[in-house]
Symmetry: C2
């Protein structure tokens, strides 16, 4: 059965994509180019989708009102925070209503392609700061599309599958490792430079995941070689 994978090219969504494949799904990838400063992740997404010969939609979406450090270069990215500090509150990297927008676009594609599900790499454990990654949000979204789509009206349910929701970053790394995720092609850093900054929240959580999983991050190895 076809499934839509919300696919940013990062560690989590790439692992979610590999989970979908391992579960026998036919993934259609959807990447949103929403003016993220780290648009380098889109290059990663393309490379991975091409390597797997997958149907891949890349949708440009302007959110010109800003409101997030991910889309507005005037808002400073938090740097060098401890893991505890990161999950304490909703960070400035929160993009207003971003995952509602992304999931709605995925639902639109799912309905058109008659897919029965959306794979979404949300994680509530090591990054509980974002309200639109929480289980209660995902349940509300399933209800929304059940009520507000043609598919839903015809009794065809579109499920939101979030296989990483209750995993720690280390468990995600281990799962990805087992599924042979090409970690060296994934991109996590919120800055869009040549090499990961190592100091933004996303770099810190990625490093924590690999460290606790006891696996070396091949992206960092590549960077050191370069």
């Amino acid at each position: 059965m076809k499934t839509i994978v919300l696919f940013s090219g990062g560690l989590d969504s790439t692992t979610a994509l590999y989970v979908a494949r391992s579960e026998g799904r036919e993934p259609i990838c959807l990447t949103i180019h929403y003016g993220q400063l780290h648009e380098r992740e889109i290059t990663s997404a393309k490379k991975i989708a091409v390597s797997l010969r997958l149907e891949h939609w890349i949708i440009p979406l302007s959110l010109p009102w800003g409101g997030s450090a991910l889309t507005d270069s005037e808002i400073a990215l938090p740097k060098g925070r401890s893991e505890k500090e990161i999950s304490k509150e909703i960070p400035v990297t929160y993009v207003p209503a971003r995952n509602s927008i992304f999931l709605s676009l995925a639902a639109s594609l799912a309905e058109t392609k008659e897919a029965d599900s959306i794979y979404f790499g949300a994680n509530a454990l090591d990054y509980s700061g974002y309200p639109d990654c929480r289980p209660a949000f995902l349940e509300a979204f399933e209800e929304l599309i059940a009520r507000g789509t043609k598919a839903g009206s015809e009794g065809k349910k579109i499920r939101i599958i979030a296989p990483l929701l209750y995993l720690s970053k280390a468990e995600i790394v281990r799962l990805g490792y087992e599924l042979k995720v090409p970690f060296e092609w994934t991109w996590s850093c919120y800055e869009g430079r040549e090499t990961p900054c190592g100091e933004c929240d996303s770099c810190i959580l990625r490093a924590k995941g690999f460290r606790e999983a006891g696996i070396e991050d091949p992206l960092m190895q590549t960077m050191r070689r370069a």
Copy 2:
């Protein structure tokens, strides 16, 4: 208080905008250019927003997967249907998950601008064919943003206000007439030609509304003069 108005430039959303103003709101208009074949409505939206000196965001959004007669010229628009036929089933002009996408974008703008509500010209009575115009859908969306936004996490509710939800088209026309909506600038026809086709579902419902309200449609008067 600031409010976001989902504003297409059509009869319903323009009336919703005038209701928001009459209720003492400060409207910020949001128009989505989603590849609708009748993009002429965007010209209408601009003209009306400029005349009222309102902040107006026009967001281009490509939905390249089609799936609707409104975005795919290969799918024929229904023509000459009776009013009864129109509301019987979900029509081919349904755009998959469109209002979920639009409301999510409105919620993003609302959060960024600290607006407390979204005015939405949905109508469940004379156009009950669209599942994403039904009251149950709007309730589910309010719940979604309560759970999935920073504003919601902080206890700031963003309300969806649908002032036309239970009105007939005739009642909408009468309400717009009282509020001095510039009907001649609004655009309803699903075809993007010089003059309204008079035969698509949207033209038929608009004509019904004016006829039953006993008011002449100034757009049609203008067209006859031209």
